[in-house]
Amino acid sequence: MIEILTKYFATFADGFLITLESSIIALIGSLVLGTLFAVLQLVPNKFVNRLAQAYVEIFRNIPLLVITLFFFAFVAPLVTHLGIAMDGFTAGTIGLTLYTSSFIAEVIRASINAIPKGQMEAGRTNGMTWWQTMRLIILPQAFKMSIPSLGNQFINLVKNSSVLAFVAGMDLMYQANNIAQSTFDSMGTYMVVALFYLVITLPLSYGMKYIEYRSNRGGNA
């Protein structure tokens, strides 16, 4: 196990950075998309609400692998035809973004709903438009409230980024499979890779637990 770690450290580090890169891009993308669809579920327009709801329900209930393979096997050749290069990493990150955005939309919608109705009414009576009130008054409070859940989503994102291995995304899991195949020491390789994943997820997980513990105790978290 130690031997594999030292001999293939550069490869593992490459994969680690790709995993991290993909997760962070997907997090930013899905935060934007998720917030957008959370707000669209609440705008005073029934038709838009339904559309946003459909988006969230569809991407929440379909496996990530199906979405990712759709982009890799169907969309990638299609756009390559049009002259846009799309490799496994891009396809995988798009899949991750769409999948996670539906969960983040749910998280943020729940936080917006948890904010007292009076905030919106006060904003409106002071002459702000619906969008202004949402953007300047409701969303900042909702974001603060949803930090623990967003942290959990990021942990899931890092774990889910392992599907990049299916589409040759050069991430940790993909490199691990290659190393396991060339060294015949699957046990050692997968142990090392587990350590690399835990380096990201475990501190985050304990951090989230601590924030939740503090807010349950009634402190300001």
Partner: protein, 223 residues
């Protein structure tokens, strides 16, 4: 490709043989999910109670193990069960390796849910039961757990939904479930790609959305 041809291949893709092939895949997906969730309900409850009871040393190690397993990618655990366990002499078939992996991972998830459920039960219930002469074990199994299980139905169902979705990862060790069979079909004829993806999406959506509706129903009835 013209629209008429696309339409023709779409209809052709849904022929009897392909549909039957996918249906057997769905049976694999569902049977692996059901067996795994049943097993992990048992193991998860045991671990959850152990962590809750704060047995010196023992509980702490179980809790650390649960945290480690929860924070690993499921795909890694699947590969570990199938490719790494033979290194130490444990040979599992594809079917049982996937069940082992899902059970291993979901037990950790379920144990956190069960622990949360027990913690949500009112402290007075413990004290009341103890004051009435029940032993610790009786209090846990007769009074606290039944109430805890009622509270954790919604998170358990959503865990089950994510398990149904995650069974698609077992494609990585060639478990012939829905996703794998879909890939086989469009691998033979690339015109079938779009219809197959639509079909897969519909099947997964119907199963999972149905489950979430059932969960909401149960939630209402229990409340």
């Amino acid at each position: 490709m013209s629209i008429a041809m696309t339409l023709a291949s779409t209809i052709e893709a849904f022929n009897y043989y392909n549909l039957r092939y996918l249906f057997i895949g769905l049976l694999y997906t569902l049977s692996v999910s059901v067996i795994s969730i049943a097993l992990s309900f048992v193991f998860g409850s045991i671990f959850g109670i152990i962590v809750y009871e704060k047995i010196p040393y023992f509980s702490r190690w179980v809790s650390i193990a649960v945290d480690i397993v929860r924070n690993l990618p499921l795909l890694l655990i699947i590969f570990f069960m199938y490719f790494a366990l033979p290194n130490i002499g444990v040979h599992l078939s594809i079917f049982w390796a996937s069940i082992a992996a899902f059970t291993f991972f979901e037990s950790a998830m379920v144990s956190e849910i069960v622990r949360g459920g027990i913690m949500a039960v009112d402290k007075g219930q413990f004290e009341g039961a103890r004051a009435n002469g029940l032993t610790n074990a009786q209090t846990m199994f007769r009074i606290v757990l039944p109430q805890a299980y009622k509270k954790i139905v919604p998170p358990l169902v959503s865990q089950f939904i994510s398990l149904v979705k995650d069974t698609s990862l077992a494609t990585g060790i060639v478990l012939p479930e829905l996703m794998y069979r879909g890939q086989i079909i469009y691998g033979q004829n690339s015109n079938y790609m779009i219809p197959v993806f639509i079909m897969l999406a519909i099947i997964y959506f119907v199963v999972n959305f149905g489950l979430s509706l059932i969960s909401k129903r149960i939630e209402k009835n229990l409340a």
